[in-house]
């Protein structure tokens, strides 16, 4: 019980640390919310700052923010004049959909290709490895541009931007699903292709290591089929480090999503965060930053939980 409490406390303190780091780092950023245009005066800018409480000291503002955040009030966006939680609620599902799907595909396909590489040494391993490394070495945004140029503009197969079509609301149920999937193809492909290689390489190495272990040989000696040996015994153990990798790669996927979202006009958290930093929209920066931190901390916890689930040794060696 104490261990659990300590774990939760540590994670909460991480989130608090991120919030503090972010608040003071953003405060260090010179420049104010852009107030600019013909006739816009310094007085107006100063008044805007006063209205938003920006003329207080940074510590006072931080305290105000913390008190608000603890009571579930993350403030209102300056650029979008609506509650931050409202904004996040609109955009987070988009990001989760894109990054989540890409994550699932990257890991699913990556593990599959990694196993194929590990079990088929020779040219299959080499060829797959080369192709995967090629995509892995690409900047995601560059691949995104190329995908748009070829598959959207050139062949007209997929829309280049957006989450849904303009007439989404008028579509039937299955039509809506198809429309969403149609819009997901390119961004998910861009994210998946660049991250798949890492997973595959990891899986391959892990598989090779596991497949060389005694108990795999022993399993074969007991007459188990190659399929059972590779997938049930080999992959199951090889997955352990990959599960850890899964937890650690979540922040990367969100980072990658910032750029992919920008290219595909995908209204998500990455873009929201980027735009807010440019506009010094502090409530949104803090809200999204905190959201990211929570997701990362959660995914680490999830990775640990999965790890424990996959590896009984963690469970019984705990005491």
């Amino acid at each position: 019980m104490r261990r659990v409490a300590k774990g939760v406390l540590y994670k909460l303190s991480l989130v608090a640390g991120v919030a503090t780091l972010l608040f003071y780092a953003v405060d260090l950023m010179p420049g104010d919310a852009p107030c600019f245009g013909p006739g816009m005066t310094r007085e107006v800018c100063a008044q805007i700052a006063t209205n938003r409480g920006l003329d207080e000291s940074v510590h006072a503002r931080y305290a105000t923010w913390v008190v608000g955040a603890l009571t579930g009030d993350f403030g209102d966006s300056h650029r979008q004049s609506r509650p931050v939680l409202d904004l996040i609620g609109e955009l987070l599902p988009n990001t989760l959909l894109l990054s989540g799907l890409a994550l699932v595909l990257a890991f699913g396909l990556g593990i599959l290709f990694g196993v194929i590489q590990a079990t088929r040494p020779g040219w299959v391993d080499g060829a797959l490895g080369t192709v995967l490394l090629f995509f892995y070495s690409m900047p995601a945004f560059w691949l995104a541009l190329m995908l748009i140029l070829v598959l959207s503009q050139g062949l007209g197969l997929f829309p280049a931007a957006g989450v849904t079509s303009v007439d989404y609301d008028a579509l039937s149920g299955p039509g809506r699903l198809l429309d969403r999937l149609h819009h997901l193809v390119l961004p998910v492909a861009a994210l998946t292709l660049v991250s798949m290689g890492g997973v595959a390489r990891y899986t391959r190495d892990s598989m090779l290591e596991v497949l060389g272990l005694d108990y795999i040989r022993a399993a074969r000696a007991r007459g188990l089929s190659e399929r059972t040996v590779v997938y049930r015994h080999g992959l199951r153990s090889a997955l352990l480090p990959i599960v850890t990798q899964l937890g650690l790669s979540l922040p990367f996927l969100f980072s990658g999503a910032v750029l992919v979202e920008a290219v595909f006009g995908w209204p998500g958290m990455g873009r929201l965060m980027y735009d807010s930093v440019a506009a010094r929209d502090m409530p949104v920066i803090m809200g999204t930053g905190l959201m990211f931190a929570v997701i990362v901390v959660l995914s680490n916890a999830l990775a640990d939980a999965l790890y424990a689930l996959a590896d009984p040794r963690v469970r019984y060696e705990r005491d």
């Binding site: 540590y10 303190s13 991480l14 989130v15 640390g17 991120v18 780091l21 972010l22 780092a25 953003v26 260090l28 950023m29 010179p30 420049g31 040494p121 490394l133 090629f134 892995y136 070495s137 690409m138 900047p139 995601a140 945004f141 560059w142 541009l145 190329m146 140029l149 503009q153 390489r201 190495d205 090779l208 290591e209 060389g212 650690l248 922040p251 990367f252 969100f254 980072s255 990658g256 910032v258 750029l259 920008a262 990455g270 965060m273 980027y274 930093v277 440019a278 920066i285 930053g289 990211f292 931190a293 990362v296 901390v297």
Partner: protein, 387 residues
């Protein structure tokens, strides 16, 4: 294991028989090739051939640069010293009888051998080395000034004999910008990774070896930094200083990378600190700092080296991403990321602007990854035997 060791031993016995001494002295790397060190041999030979080729084909430019008439004195000096160094090395080794024996401790010797046996890794290493030289020699190699503009009415020319990779939106030579871009992109990546590795190694090893509050505090910092998506952190940090200079980019890329390294090396240090030689050193009464630097760090470096090689690739991509968002390298420095970002305006009509810069990134990152893979397998004997 013992079997393959013997095989190498047999190779090593062979000497530069049959190759005239003068050839060995004149052509760097030949001696190494003949005495069964293909890695060193080809590296020396390749470098020598490349530098000589550049010197011969661009002698006018080199001379002008040396005399200060045109820019690129540093590059010209590097070219001449590099050539002199390679040659003197050849002369030196040919002046001695038999093969040189490089004294390496056992694990590193194993690494070198397994690395050399990995064709991909060797190819990657040569590619990186070549790119490194291209970056250093960019002012001499580039056919034109990367900042010099041509007439605006004639801009965005496609690849041609005059401009091998075409010209950009203000009629600058893309090839020249690409070559100079190598300086910026590689320079930033290597410096940032060096910074991160140094910092991460020191802090991570100290945390792992010394433990206690230092460990807890450092790991809390590490976990915190790793909880923020790196790109977001980078945007904020670059923004916090306002004007993204090259130095700043190196700093923020390095300072956001070290936690990963620290985490890796801490895990290593944790296992090393219980090994006999560390305990023995402590028992002898050596100071903890001395034990840290003499025993713990050298024996934990393996994963750091791998992470550094892979980190170079990641950093190049990250820098490109930052530049793509407009918060990275600032003009007129032509980094590859900047070239893609700027070229995307013309992606529909002038494909050469984004394509070549993108390929340069892909090539470099592939090379860095292959080297990283080679190192990883080289450091792990089990993995090395799978190939």
């Amino acid at each position: 294991m013992s079997v393959t060791d013997r095989g190498t031993a047999r190779d090593r016995r062979g000497g530069p028989h049959g190759t005239p001494r003068w050839a060995v002295a004149l052509i760097p790397g030949l001696g190494d090739l003949r005495s069964g060190r293909p890695l060193t041999g080809w590296a020396l030979l390749g470098t020598w051939a490349f530098l000589l080729f550049v010197l011969l084909t661009r002698s006018g430019r080199v001379a002008a640069a040396l005399s200060g008439e045109v820019s690129g004195r540093g590059a010209a000096l590097a070219l001449v010293t590099g050539l002199a160094l390679v040659w003197s090395l050849a002369l030196y080794s040919s002046g001695r009888s038999g093969a040189r024996t490089v004294r390496m401790s056992v694990p590193w010797r194993g690494l070198a051998r397994r690395f050399a046996a990995n064709r991909g890794a060797v190819l990657g290493a040569f590619l990186l080395m070549g790119l490194g030289w291209v970056a250093v020699l960019a002012p001499i190699l580039a056919p034109a000034d990367p900042l010099a503009t041509g007439p605006l009415t004639d801009r965005l020319q496609g690849p041609s004999a005059a401009h091998l990779l075409g010209t950009d939106e203000i009629n600058r030579d893309v090839l020249s910008r690409l070559l100079h871009g190598a300086r910026v992109s590689l320079g930033i990546a290597f410096l940032a990774v060096a910074l991160a590795s140094t910092l991460g190694t020191l802090l991570g090893a100290a945390a792992g070896y010394l433990g206690g509050w230092l460990d807890r505090a450092l790991m809390a910092v590490v976990d915190t930094v790793l909880s923020v998506p790196r790109l977001v952190l980078l945007i904020v940090l670059v923004g916090a200083v306002g004007r993204p200079s090259l130095l700043l980019l190196v700093l923020v890329l390095g300072l956001t990378q070290w936690p990963q390294t620290a985490r890796l090396i801490r895990a290593e240090a944790l296992s090393v600190r219980d090994r006999e030689f560390v305990r023995a050193a402590e028992a002898l009464g050596f100071s903890r700092t001395r034990v840290l630097f003499r025993h713990v760090i050298p024996n934990s470096l393996g994963p750091v080296i791998v992470a550094a090689a892979l980190g170079v690739g990641n950093t190049i991509i990250l820098e490109a991403g930052l530049s793509f968002l407009g918060v990275g390298v600032q003009p007129p420095h032509p980094s590859w990321g900047v070239m893609i970002a700027r070229g995307r305006e013309h992606i529909h009509t002038a494909w050469w602007l984004t394509t070549f810069a993108g390929l340069a990134i892909v090539l470099t990152v592939i090379a860095a990854n292959m080297v990283g893979d080679g190192l990883r397998q080289g450091l792990d004997p089990r993995a090395g035997d799978d190939r």
